[in-house]
Structure formats: structure tokens, C-alpha cells
Assembly symmetry: C2
Homo-oligomer: 393 residues x 2
């Protein structure tokens, strides 16, 4: 920005699909997106001109990456807090900053902070490594079974959350294994929810806020399967309450950029589940379904540009995640899906197809929710399974 | 496409803003866009991962570029026909092919072909280099003054078209200079048009066609200033006729990809002005204003993928071109424009700001045409002139 007429450089740490889709927005805005990827084959590295190869766990790599960036932001939560603090101490503009981001990195810190602030959270407790079973037993007496055991940071073997039904031998073995591996654990009530919602907001350093319509997220096998925008038949007051809650959390935590608040809808209100401070799977629908995509909004927020309109472009937008099927040769199925529905939008992440891997998403929009859901579902299912769709899904 | 699950590579010759915006579409489709640019500073080269530096006038550079591309297509019309024919002879899939593209490269060839096919064209004639003034005189006797003198290919000093009012000393000097420079000239009637329209269509190798709503293009000082989609108050029958004409031309010429037909609206119909076989300035509005952007559509067409829906997303979409002003430090004005109108979309092309240079465009959409035009205009004018907008524009 120091050179007249030159546009800023935003550095995004991580080369996944969120950075990839952010590049589409950056091209339009005229902003340069620099990506720190672990290899040139990563999703975003395949589509950006300014790619640096390095490890997000290496302070040296982060330092070299940040040089020349006007702002550094994150494609994921796995950058060590101490590295972000070190960059901040050296004058790098990290947004969201380490203090805010910690609440998306450490679930126990998040619970402590939000509970203290009066945000609706489920009962929770630390699970000490020296007496985990006793702690769970005691917690279950208060909250009832089943319990949700979570790794406070990261996870183990790709998982960060386990539903524990009782303290039978299987659970005892699981908890023992997690503790042996040094995974820090916490426990939460298994909230008896009606459905899952997500409230996506943006906040700029000036404190300007913008809220997207609250969406319903449909999980299957622990993976976000479908997002419906707006959440159908959601009470107007509750929708406004969820948006206010997300904006309030963003302000209290000093978030700059996007904040996605995953929530449970329960009798009489909502309960906070998880936080993410970046573009989020629950916001992919905004590419076609909102005047400003979440990716553009995140860039605007971290650059302290005025935020864009979050107005929806259609009555309903449905996003279905696209998982890899058994047959990696997806192109013939792609042709079928395009021919079947000229208005459905398929987004591929440039990833090799592997069974169960999230390789893209599909968006449909229109006035009739059932029809829109069916269109998005058909496209995602067909891309995964082909003509066997009906038998498999 | 031979490797299971791998997506095709589209090579685009030319590194301008059309290739740049095509990259946004390619990222979503999961298609790799490879760009042949003259320097890493070109508009598209700044945002693509797969950039080859070379000259579009060098057959060797084109050959090396085409290797590994599933299809080669064009960001502009300046690739020599003989080079495209040579690539085709070597088995490279060039789309649109040399035979079709010639009609977008040579205005005289286009007139001969379209007139023979019965498409509405203005009276025209060749201007022989050995007796140019006599030819103009004779043509004016039939068609009246003023005349439109055109370079059949390329142009001279950045211009390809001159309005000649008479054969006074100024005109004599101009024609003499053009002939001396070896510019091949033709002459056309100065069509007494009501307004200018453009019909954008796509055609796939299978022969599938898709037509966008016909738009009005507003020129100022010979530069496209504003595009209104759809063309306001255009007679339904005339709109359908213009779409049919464009689809018919695409089929007759064997165009694969996009075809933009610039037209004059005259009493009783339309007259063809120019052809372009690539994404076109008159179609930039489709990024926000149509279900499928022209850039996505071009990729789908040249890859022989089923074409996408051309349905508009709003009642009116207005695109205003953004020209550089005297002050290259555009960023503060960008902030103002975003704050002023959170729903307007600014697209920057990554070009240095120079007075009068096309550096981006602005899109607004909505139900009230006057309001939408005013919003697009304000944004483009303010970005160019800043607070002096009112005095300058």
C-alpha cells in the first residue's frame, strides 16, 4: 500500500480449499493472495501465483512468509499460538490475532471465556490425565450419559471428539489410549439438540460487523453433509438472537475477519458448540447465495475495508459437500451432473479423489426448498457414486 | 483426462484481464488454466499458478505452451492465423479453431461471409492501397458521409477505426499515413443507429448453444463505458431475433466457445457490427448477473462440457468500466466506494493505474434501473476521479 496505486498483499497460512476459494475472491478485489502451503500439490497452491512452500509449525518459515505481507491470516487453526505471538511481537499484523484465535484453537479456553461472559454453553469440565475415569463418572452424575469427550487442541488420529456412552471396557480402553498419547481432554454434556445451526459474522478492526443469515447444518457420520440457508422455519427472534450472539462473541474476543459460531438449537434457545475464525464450511453457500461471499468478506475484514452486503441472492441456497467415492475417475460423472442440471454449481478443490475425502461442494438455489435440496443432493451423490446413487445414499 | 480423476488443462493464449477472470471460473470448475503471458506482470499472470512466458506471435512459444494442454483457447485475436493452423495440423485442439477465428480477426472476411449468409450488415467495401481516396469517394456516393474506415486486421497506433467526415486535408493526410504504414483498409457505412446492442452466446463442439439476454452497450469516446443487462425496453421479438442471429452465426462459422456479436439497433431490426470469439467486455455483468458467468461458460464450451444456465440473477445488472484517473493512488477511493455501497462489486485487473487505461470494472444489480445505473456509475466515476467526480464526469 506504500507504493501509490498498489494493492495490499494478504498472506494466508495453509494451502487448503479455504485458501483456494479465497483466491477467487482476491482476484476480483485486486488483492494479492500469498499462500503458505506444505507442497505445490495442495489445493490452494495449485491456483495461486504467489505460493511459498513451508511448514506452518516452523517459526522460521512463518517469518519468511510474512515478510512483504500487509496482513497474515489463517486457512486453519493449527499454527502454534507461540509462533503467532512471536510474529506479533515482531510487528507482523496477524488477523485474527493470537489472543482471539486461541478461542478457536483451545476448546477449554473457549468454554471458560464464553461461560464467564454469559454465553449459552453446555456443562463442561476438564478431564485430568491422572484420574480421567473418576472425572467422567462424576461429570455424568451431573450431566447424564452419554458424554462428549473432546481433545482441547488438535486431536488424535484425525479425530477430536468421541461420544462416550458408559464406562464399559471399550470406553476405558479409548480414554486410556488418549491419555497415554498425551491428548489433553475435556468433557461436555451431550446436548439434546433439535438441530445444528451456524451463525457466520465478520468483524473489521474498526469494529464494523456484518452477519449472514443463520443456516442449518446437517451432519452425517460426524461430517458436515449439507447446509441450508437460511435455516428453514427458524423463529425470527431466535435467528436474530443467534446473530447477536455471534457478533457479541466476535467483539468480546476481538476477532478480526470471519467468525463462524456452530450452535445447537435446543428448547428455548441456542447453545454454542464450536468456534472457527476463518471462512467456514457452513458459509460456502455464500459464493452464489449471498451478495458478498464469505471469502471476499474475510479479505475485506482483515484489510480493514468496509464490509460487503450479506444479503441473500435467492430464497433458499443449499450446499452439499462432495465426498470422494470408490471410483476416482470423476470426470464422466461431472459431465452427467452438468447436463442434468445446468444451474447447479460444482466446486472442485483440486484434490485427488479418495473414498470419503472432502473433494468439493455443490450449490443449488431457488424458491422451493425441497427441490433445491434434491438438486444439490443429487449432484453430490451422483458425483460420488454415479448411477449407483440410489442404492448407496 | 487420461489419468483417472484428473481434470483437464485449458491453455489460454494471452495474459490479459479476460484470462484473469477466466482463472476465477477455472478454480471453481476444478480445471487447470495455463496462461501464455508476455511477462509475469500481466493481468492474468499475477493470479495463475501455471504461467508460461512467451510471445503469441512465436510458433515455437505456442508449440511449447500447447504441450500438455487438453485445449488451447484465446484471450485476444492477435495470434497469427498461420500459427493456429500449424498447431491444428500438429494435432493441437484449438478452440475456437483457425477457420472460425478468422472472422473475428479479419473484418473484411467477416463481412464477406456474413453478407453471403444473409446476415444484416452495413454496406462495405475494400479500400485498395493504390487508389484509396477514389474508392472512398465512390463509396460515399452510395452510402453517404460520414464513412467508417477500418483496418481489416489489427490497426495502427492502438486504433482500428476512424470516422471520416469528408475528404478534406485532415482525412487525406490520415488515409495517406495509414496506407503508407501498410494498414489494410476497408470502409463501411456510418450506420444511423438508435443504440448499440450485444448478443453473447456459447456453442460447444456437440453443437449445444446457449444465449445470454441481449444487452445495451454504451460507448463513450470509442470505449465501452457501460453495459445494461438486459437492454432496457428492447422489443421481445427483436431480442429473440438478435439471439437467434448470434446462435446462427456461431453455428455457420463453427465457433466453439463464446461468440459476442456487437450490433446496431436500427429502424426495423439489427445490423451486425463486430464479432469476438472469447469472453467479452459486454459479458462481464454475467459474473454477478447470470447463473453462469461468461468465463465459466467459455471453459465449459471449449471442454465440451454441458453449458450452464444463462438465467439472470436480478432484474437489471449494470456494468461500468473503470478507467484510470490522474491520481494512481486508488486505494483510498476504493475504501470510500465500498463504504458508500456495500453491494456494489469492484473488479480490479491488477494493472497499474494510468489515465484512461481500463483497469477494472464495477457491477451493480437490482430492480430499479435508474438506481442501479447510478450506483455503478458513481462507483466507477469516484474510483477514477475521487471527490472531483461531479465536476469531471
Amino acid at each position: 500500500m506504500s507504493i501509490p496505486g498498489q494493492m495490499p498483499v494478504v498472506g494466508m497460512v495453509g494451502g487448503g480449499q479455504l485458501a483456494r476459494m479465497t483466491q477467487q475472491a482476491a482476484i476480483g478485489l485486486g488483492v494479492t493472495l500469498r499462500v503458505l502451503a506444505r507442497s505445490p500439490q495442495e489445493s490452494a497452491a495449485r491456483v495461486c501465483a504467489d505460493v511459498r512452500i513451508g511448514e506452518h509449525t516452523s517459526l522460521e518459515d512463518l517469518r519468511a512468509f510474512a515478510k512483504g505481507c500487509d496482513v497474515v491470516t489463517w486457512d486453519h487453526e493449527h499454527v502454534p499460538s507461540e509462533h503467532i505471538r512471536a510474529l506479533e511481537a515482531e510487528g507482523v499484523a496477524c488477523l485474527p490475532g493470537s489472543a482471539a484465535l486461541l478461542h478457536a484453537q483451545d476448546k477449554f479456553v473457549m468454554r471458560e471465556r464464553l461461560s464467564a461472559a454469559g454465553a449459552p454453553c453446555p456443562p463442561y469440565a476438564k478431564v485430568p490425565a491422572d484420574a480421567p475415569l473418576a472425572a467422567l463418572e462424576e461429570f455424568a452424575e451431573r450431566a447424564g450419559w452419554p458424554l462428549v469427550v473432546k481433545a482441547t487442541r488438535g486431536g488424535y488420529d484425525g479425530k477430536g471428539l468421541w461420544i462416550v456412552k458408559d464406562l464399559g471396557p471399550e470406553s476405558v480402553e479409548l480414554i486410556g489410549r488418549l491419555v497415554d498419547q498425551g491428548v489433553d481432554l475435556m468433557v461436555e454434556q451431550h446436548v439434546p439438540f433439535r438441530r445444528e445451526l451456524a451463525a457466520l459474522v465478520a468483524r473489521s478492526p474498526y469494529g464494523q460487523g456484518a452477519a449472514y443469515p443463520v443456516v442449518e447444518t446437517v451432519q452425517r457420520d460426524g461430517i458436515c453433509h449439507e447446509v441450508i440457508a437460511p435455516a428453514p422455519d427458524l423463529d425470527d427472534d431466535l435467528a436474530a438472537e443467534a446473530q447477536r450472539l455471534a457478533l457479541d462473541i466476535a467483539e468480546r474476543l476481538g476477532v478480526v475477519g470471519l467468525l463462524a459460531v456452530e450452535m445447537f438449537e435446543v428448547d428455548g434457545g441456542v447453545v454454542v458448540n464450536e468456534l472457527a475464525m476463518r471462512p467456514h464450511n457452513s458459509g460456502h453457500w455464500t459464493i452464489e447465495g449471498a451478495r458478498t461471499s464469505q471469502f471476499e468478506q474475510h479479505l475485506r475484514a482483515v484489510l480493514n475495508l468496509p464490509l460487503g452486503s450479506t444479503e441473500p441472492t435467492a430464497r433458499y441456497t443449499v450446499m452439499a459437500n462432495l465426498l470422494g467415492g470408490d471410483d476416482p475417475d470423476i470426470y464422466p460423472r461431472y459431465i452427467h451432473v452438468m447436463a442434468h442440471d445446468p444451474a447447479v454449481k460444482v466446486h472442485f478443490y483440486g484434490k485427488e479423489v479418495r473414498p470419503g475425502r472432502k473433494i468439493g461442494h455443490v450449490t443449488a438455489l431457488g424458491d422451493d426448498l425441497d427441490e433445491v435440496r434434491e438438486r444439490a443432493r443429487h449432484a453430490a451423490d451422483y458425483l460420488r457414486w454415479g448411477p449407483e446413487t440410489k442404492e448407496r445414499s
